[in-house]
Amino acid sequence: MNTQNHLQFLDCEGVPTQALPKWAEEPDWFLKCYHFMVLARQFDTKAIALQRTGQLGTYASLLGSEGIDVPVALSMQSDDVLVPYYRNHACQIIRGLPLEDAFLYWGGDERGNAAIEMGKDFPNAVPIATQSLHACGVATAMKINNLKQATVTFIGDGGTSKGDFMEALNIAGVWHLPVVFIINNNQWAISVPREIQSAANALADKAIAAGIPGIQVDGNDVIAMREATNQALQRAYEGKGPTLIEAVSYRLCDHTTADDATRYRDNDELKAAWHREPIKRLRGHMVNQGWWDEEKEKALLHEINKTVQKSADNYIKMAPQAVESFFDHMYAELPEHLVEQRDWAVVKAMPGGSHHQEGE
């Protein structure tokens, strides 16, 4: 058991670097993949615009991670469980998160975590690396309950420095848990570059000490990502245990809208990374195969633009939650003292009250 070298099928222009897998002969999967990557990117553009105009809170852009999240989400079964960090909205949207709800979450509204479509998927983990252990708990439950399902969890390159992550790999190895760990190695943890996080050659090498397979994959190459994810999921379904996938990509954006990467990051590095980006690469492959052209591109952009705009409009029109909502879900049954506090909050929010806000 050892880590494998960088898995890649397509170069930056979408030209194969080795024989493609059999499934890659059919266009359908690629068209779907492309659709969702473009959707994710347009959602992202809209979210940043909303943030800049004060209609959304601090937002973590997904720019540059489309080639990881989309093939992973498309490889998962609906009854698998996703345990995300905070940069997996592309994956979540494919798994059923309505765009409106994605906006709601970043708009500072808990209803963004509530969509029934999310099934047993976890909400975003902001405290770095905590999700890795939750994923192991979920996978343990699957194993105890004899379910042929897998748990998929993401983490950033920075997050791999936390003990939680190593503890998760460790227990997943010991218990042969049906879990797939995916590192979005976008080279930066806010201002801290990858080499300051770990002296390991590849982050996938962290699998070695846990005794589990680790593989480094070109995260801008959807074929490589699908291959690696499928193999890892198969292992999980067959009871063979966990896999660590290091998806090598690049954060093409600021860390969040509250960040300014020009303070610490070289612009030439960013420019070079754009050359490797995943959407252009997939489009190149599809054009080369004769599956895609200008006209289809225009139609798709137009259709997605309409969808995203409509969801943004719906989001903006949505009335805020009632004040009592932040009490009502504290416990299955609200304790007496909270019933009293809830009444105070409701009264204060009424016209004439100390917390009344116009328009509420």
Binding site: T58, G108, D109, V126, R263, P320, Q341, A345
Partner: protein, 327 residues
């Protein structure tokens, strides 16, 4: 030299000033070096003091706190930054099980002169886990000192004192007022005392006690009440551990009425400890029940509703009015 600075810049000024004076001070944390901190609290310190004294660490709070404990026992004075207080929890094992007790368990053979800085509190429309006020958790731990500045001058003076303290100090920075007020301060290396309250406004009718960002609303309320002829004494508790009970009791004995204001949840908030102390020591001098204006005992709501959670100036005015009406 005088500097016109906000609270955030005062933190930076104190760090730079003390690092020039004391070579044993080293800084460590996430994004504090090249980036100068996500809020810019350590801006330009890497340039002045170099890699060995301003260290960008991997992303791991347990590691940061554990290293800090180790370094502090060996003649260094580490000042660690936890990027947001909501991410201090992995560090607590080292802070509680080691930093807070090293002196005691070695009968002073070793000690942990170290500072852990963290921004805290709500009101800036931040994402989840970036807005809580959990200062009580730390104030509850024997062996720690917990200090919260509420003005640029107090940030400067108290952070100097924290860095010179022989024991571990948790220095919590109210980020809602990081940039709200500018103040002229002299970079003269003069510290302010830890373990003392600061009386910001004298008054004879009622005592208002608060700390951190809520000092802003408390002072606003006092100014508004003055228009109605009500004279509030406003005290910034500043060191929530150890607590300066003498200043608090003296004021309450004078006014006979007390309102405690904090952003943190009500249940077991520091207000409870202060109220208990006043009840123990000065119950018969009170002319009205002690009132508390606090956050609710709920999870901090996401930011769209956070203003409903945070106490505001009117809440303080209402509590003062009710306390004064009691007879």
């Amino acid at each position: 030299m005088k500097h016109s600075v906000c609270l955030l810049e005062a933190v930076n000024l104190a760090l730079a000033s003390e690092m020039r004076r004391d070579d044993s001070i080293v800084l460590l944390g996430e994004d504090i070096g090249v980036n100068g901190g996500v809020f810019r609290a350590t801006a330009s310190l890497r340039e002045e003091f170099g890699l060995k004294r301003v260290m960008d660490t991997p992303l791991a709070e347990t590691m940061i706190a554990g290293l800090t404990v180790g370094m502090s026992t060996q003649g260094l004075k580490p000042v660690a930054e936890i990027q947001f207080m909501g991410f201090i929890f992995p560090a607590l094992e080292h802070i509680i099980c080691h930093a807070a007790r090293m002196r005691n368990r070695t009968r002073s053979r070793l000690s942990c002169p170290m500072v852990i800085r963290a921004p805290f509190g709500g009101g800036i429309h931040a994402p989840e886990h970036h807005s809580e006020s959990t200062e009580t958790l730390l104030a509850h731990i024997p062996g720690l000192k917990v200090v919260i500045p509420s003005s640029p001058a107090r940030a400067y003076g108290l952070l100097l004192a924290a860095m010179r303290d022989p024991d571990p100090v948790i220095f919590l920075e109210p980020k809602r007022i990081y940039r709200s007020v500018q103040q002229e301060i002299e970079d003269n290396g003069v510290e302010l005392p830890i373990g003392k309250c600061f009386t910001l406004r004298e008054g004879s009718d009622i005592t208002l006690l608060s700390w951190g960002a809520m000092i802003t609303e408390t002072l606003e309320a006092a100014a508004a009440l003055k228009e109605q002829g009500i004279h509030c004494e406003v005290i910034d508790v500043a060191s929530i551990s150890p607590l300066d009970t003498e200043t608090i009791l003296t004021s309450v004995r004078k006014t006979g009425r007390l309102v405690i204001i904090h952003e943190a949840p009500r249940n077991l908030g520091l207000g409870a400890e202060i109220a208990a102390t006043v009840a123990e020591k000065a119950l018969l001098e009170l002319q009205a029940p002690i009132a508390r204006v606090t956050g609710y005992d709920t999870v901090m709501p996401y930011f769209r509703l956070e203003n409903h959670y945070l106490p505001n100036t009117q809440d303080i005015i209402d509590a003062v009015t009710q306390t004064l009406e009691f007879s």
